[in-house]
Subunit: 130 residues, 2 copies
């Protein structure tokens, strides 16, 4: 499902999806040269395999709970918790229960992720995550 990207000044709803989660799919909320914001929709047990991107990322759990593996440890994020990961830090994530996640990725000025490790394109990420 291709959803239009938001533009500067446009309100974006990042409230929990609740019962609508079963119909929702992961999608980019917007992408500029410097920043991409993605809402991941992760049914329980699904996630993203280990990968790394050049720039820093933030991972904010909007609902449900997820497990994030990074820095040789496993963190649990509940709804309303956020983690920042430095650029280049390999990480993976997995939903402990149905979850949606706000992912922000800082891009290089060329607008690419410039993957630092096991490269996944955004479409690969979306495929693997959904």
């Amino acid at each position: 499902m291709a959803l239009p990207h938001a533009t500067s000044g446009q309100v974006i709803d990042v409230r929990p999806l609740g019962s609508k989660m079963t119909e929702a799919v992961s999608h980019a909320l917007f992408k500029t040269e410097q920043l991409e914001l993605i809402r991941l929709v992760l049914p329980r047990g699904k996630g993203m395999p280990e990968h790394a991107v050049h720039g820093p990322v933030t991972i904010q759990c909007l609902e449900g709970s997820i497990e994030v593996h990074a820095h040789q440890k496993t963190l649990t994020l509940q709804a309303g918790e956020l983690v920042y990961l430095a650029g280049g830090e390999p990480h993976s994530l997995r939903a402990l229960e149905d979850a949606s996640v706000l992912l922000s990725i800082l891009l290089k000025h060329n607008g690419n992720h410039d993957f630092a490790g096991n490269a996944l394109t955004q479409s690969e990420m979306a495929q693997r995550a959904s």
Copy 2:
């Protein structure tokens, strides 16, 4: 109140403060060369005067509601709503009711805001916001 900054891989609580809001103050959650994340605590009627920063920002209302003026219009953000503003876009904000807000600011590589318009330092922002 100086709170320690989070580091890469450390869980940050951005849940609503609820009744603890009266004791809370605006503070930076972390700051790296590329990204600063701030939790603004805005009692009803308080806000930030118009200013602009070089990089893009995102403004996410965590609780309460705020008014954001940008692009010659006034938006209302309820809890769970977010707006992205392009770099250099002058904006101001004001709490319509007691609110806390997650503000992310993309920095230049020198780690400065590189204010594009009516310059406010971060401490000025925190002072004016609190």
